[in-house]
């Protein structure tokens, strides 16, 4: 039995060489040669040999440029041709191409990696819902500019009381807690935080199981409650769904589990367990011990500046009421991302990014050198092409396409390089420290293109997703849908419905976009487009139907068809009026479009200046002369008489000696040759 080459490769080759008249022979010859190679060498060698030759043949025929091209082909054909030429030109110099692509990939990859770090650590270190709405008020230290300080419990309670219902709708505090879990299994040390009652509301996260902490649980004695993180629940409690309500031994005392947080939520600093922040009602809270970190959620429509202004007033009052504890102590409001960030991290990462940019600049300079050297090498080729009639623009376009192809080839490699860089950087951080660097685990090369929501939603668990989707911020697609609504009168689903939730996605956007351009708007758009082309569209000026205008496309074939129709009507009219125009030069008479538009606007006197046939056309009289008949009249010179009528464009009219005004009329000039056309036909 004859050995058969790899079936898929053979099929691929068969498809690739489909443009060749020798398609069957090419595949058959290679099949036959494969059998000969197989007999002489090993099967593996023969398969490799076949793959090499099949791919080379496929590349040749797929990238083959036809020998003869239509001179005035479609612009996309020319672009495709230039793309093929550029690809072949790059393949011809594989070493140079590989060098440029690798250099570019490394430069872009380094930048992407550094930006990935900045994005994860500085721009979006947290993935909570509407993270930009979460603020962090901090106390400023006396006589130390820019230094932040934790908040005293008494000040926190004052802030919370004074800010209720103002610019910050929820204010919460948290405090470091080293929790010791006992019972069930071996004792375990877990990083925990004491948090005040509205902490999870401020974070915009609901427990996946159970409930959040209550305000009454902030009282000492009622605070033996804990909230577990998803990781701790899985690891220590075996994902027991009945854990809520059970008592666990924490720090030697029984505490009731009130809930389990959704996966991915570990704010702050990789917390695994949370307990209520309790205050003793019998003793006044401390005004000197700064132990709390305060976070808050801005009220709808309020900004960080609003919160800053209100906090300044409160801080001034506290200075006045408690001058000894709050002397020169102010309040500064940051976003949570800025507040939790280490001081100086921005500067360090900016330095990294600048270094990466310089690497990219150096890479670009090297590439420019390579391309310049290559340009000098190709000077002869360019000279030959110019001599053969290629335009400078064409050569420049091909050069640009080559550069574009090089850049496009570099992008996947750059992404791979960035991924490698980030993996290496991530591996340098000790695991026990990662929890303290917000966003470290989020460092990745990803395709996020919006701020916060999408990326956060992707990383959040399903428990968070539902809550986030219901309160989603209106998106552009939704707004566009609202613009179009008055014409549809379709009832809008409530914001909480699944349908409303889906609107935010891409398909929803596209649908909304389609809905947006309702009929009257589309008509207006079509009319505007038609107005731009109306110098070449007499039927537009003559009040052609809007449906016809919507169907109008640029290809000249359509224009010619329309022109011939208008011409026939003009010819009939002239015959009826006894006018037999002689061949002659065309002259543009007046910008009739303006007259018509003035008339349609109802300008006083404008309609009176309009020729009669124009008015008939505007009224829709079928036998009225087309606008072209009035746009042009002939002079009695013999220029062009007796020629076969051909569709001409403005440039051709100019070339034949017509006036510039006639040339501007484009295809209308075609209709200016009816006598010669009729003579020819």
């Amino acid at each position: 039995m004859n050995p058969r080459p790899p079936h898929l490769l053979e099929r691929f080759l068969d498809r690739a060489v489909a443009s060749s008249p020798y398609r069957e022979e090419i595949v058959g010859d290679l099949h036959e040669a494969y059998a000969a190679v197989h007999a002489r060498r090993s099967a593996a060698y023969a398969r490799g040999w076949y793959a090499l030759h099949a791919l080379r043949l496929a590349a040749r025929y797929l990238l083959r440029t036809p020998a003869v091209f239509p001179k005035r082909g479609h612009s996309m054909d020319r672009l495709a041709m230039d793309l093929r030429l550029a690809t072949r030109s790059l393949i011809k110099r594989p070493l140079m191409t590989a060098t440029v692509v690798m250099t570019l990939a490394l430069g872009i990859g380094a930048n992407a990696a550094i930006f990935g770090i900045i994005d994860a650590l500085v721009i979006r270190p947290f993935t909570m819902r509407d993270v930009d709405r979460i603020v962090m008020p901090v106390q400023t230290v006396p006589n130390e500019i820019g230094k932040r300080e934790s908040v005293t419990p008494a000040n926190f309670l004052d802030w919370r009381r004074d800010l209720e219902g103002k610019s910050i709708q929820d204010l919460a505090a948290f405090e470091w807690w080293e929790a010791n879990l006992m019972g069930r299994d071996e004792p375990e040390h877990a990083l925990g935080f004491h948090v005040s009652s509205r902490f999870f509301d401020v974070m915009g996260v609901r427990p996946a199981l159970g409930r959040p902490f209550l305000r009454e649980e902030e009282i000492l004695g009622r605070d033996r409650k804990v909230m577990l993180s998803d990781g701790l629940w899985r690891r220590r409690f075996g994902q027991d769904p009945s854990i809520v309500g059970q008592a666990v031994l924490v720090d030697g005392a029984q505490s009731e589990v009130v809930g389990v947080m959704p996966p991915g939520f570990d704010f702050p600093m990789g917390a695994e367990i949370w307990a209520p922040l309790a205050f003793d009602p019998k003793t006044p809270p401390s005004r000197t011990g700064t132990s709390l970190t305060v976070v808050g959620r801005l009220a709808p429509g309020r900004t960080v500046a609003d919160a800053q202004a209100e906090m300044a007033v409160i801080a001034a009052r506290l200075q006045r009421d408690f001058p000894r504890e709050n002397r020169d102590r102010g309040v500064r409001v940051y976003t949570v991302a800025a507040g939790m960030r280490d001081v100086g991290l921005d500067a360090i990462l900016s330095l990294w990014q600048a270094a990466a940019l310089f690497v990219l600049l150096i890479a670009c300079a090297n590439i420019a050198n390579l391309l310049l050297a290559r340009g000098a090498e190709r000077a002869r080729e360019m000279a030959v092409r110019l001599a053969l009639g290629s335009s400078r623009g064409r050569i420049i376009r091909e050069s640009m396409l080559e550069s574009l192809l090089l850049a496009m080839a570099a992008v996947p490699l750059a992404l791979a390089a960035a991924w490698t860089f980030l993996t290496v950087i991530r591996s340098f951080m000790p695991a026990r420290l990662i929890r303290f660097v917000a966003g470290w685990n989020e460092m990745a090369v990803d395709g996020r293109n919006d701020r916060g929501d999408a990326g956060a939603r992707r990383r959040r668990g399903p428990g968070v997703r539902g809550a986030a989707g219901a309160a989603d911020v209106p998106r552009p697609g939704r707004r566009r849908a609202e613009v179009g609504r008055p014409h549809r009168q379709r009832p809008r689903p409530p914001a909480s419905s699944p349908r409303a939730g889906r609107r935010g996605n891409r398909a929803g956007d596209a649908a909304a976009r389609r809905r947006t351009i309702e009929r009257p708007q589309r008509d207006a758009l079509s009319c505007r487009l038609a107005g731009l082309r109306s110098e070449r569209r007499p039927d537009v000026q003559a009040g052609a139907s809007r449906g016809a205008l919507r169907g109008y496309r640029e290809p000249p074939a359509v224009c010619r068809r329309v022109d011939r129709r208008a011409e026939r009507r003009a010819r009939c009219l002239r015959r009826g009026a006894g006018q037999r125009p002689a061949g002659g030069r065309l002259e543009h008479v007046a910008p009739c479009r303006d007259r018509r538009s003035a008339d349609s606007r109802g300008d006083a006197g404008a309609g009176g200046r309009l020729p009669d046939c124009h008015r008939r056309l505007l009224r829709g009289d079928a036998d009225a002369a087309p606008l072209g008949a009035h746009l042009h009249r002939r002079r009695s010179s013999g220029h062009g008489a007796g020629r076969r009528r051909q569709p001409v464009d403005g440039a051709q009219v100019l070339a034949r000696g017509a006036t510039r005004s006639a040339a501007s009329c484009g295809s209308a000039a075609n209709r200016g040759r009816p006598s010669s056309a009729s003579a020819a036909t």
């Binding site: 058969r4 060749s20 020798y22 058959g28 099949h31 059998a35 030759h53 040749r60 025929y61």
Partner: protein, 111 residues
């Protein structure tokens, strides 16, 4: 009416001569092998098909299909033969080359 003059490139001359030499067994595989063996030129398969296609378009070659063969996966061979136009073009090339060679033996050597 005088037939249009056909000019041949070097590779085209070689291919026409090889097709003449191979007589009835001139299809792409042996043509490529013979080109490598006799002229020492190893060309890509794609280039070979392109050259053969060009010669056929010029009228120097004519092709006929053989029978489908099992060793080719049920595909037929395309056999090439040199047309009178091809022969005339070859003769013309030979005449031109010999004319140019004449008198240059002292400079270029007899061989």
């Amino acid at each position: 009416m005088k037939a249009e003059e056909v000019y041949l490139g070097e590779l085209e001359q070689l291919l026409l001569l090889i097709v003449l030499r191979l007589a009835g067994d001139a299809y792409a595989n042996p043509i490529g092998d013979e080109l490598e063996a006799s002229a020492g030129r190893r060309i890509a398969r794609g280039a070979l098909y392109t050259a053969l296609e060009r010669l056929e378009v010029k009228g120097c070659l004519r092709s006929t299909m053989g029978e489908p063969l099992a060793e080719r996966g049920g595909r037929a061979r395309r056999y090439f033969t040199v047309t009178p136009t091809g022969l005339r073009a070859l003769r013309n090339s030979r005449r031109v080359l010999l004319g140019l060679w004449a008198g240059l033996e002292s400079k270029l050597g007899a061989s």
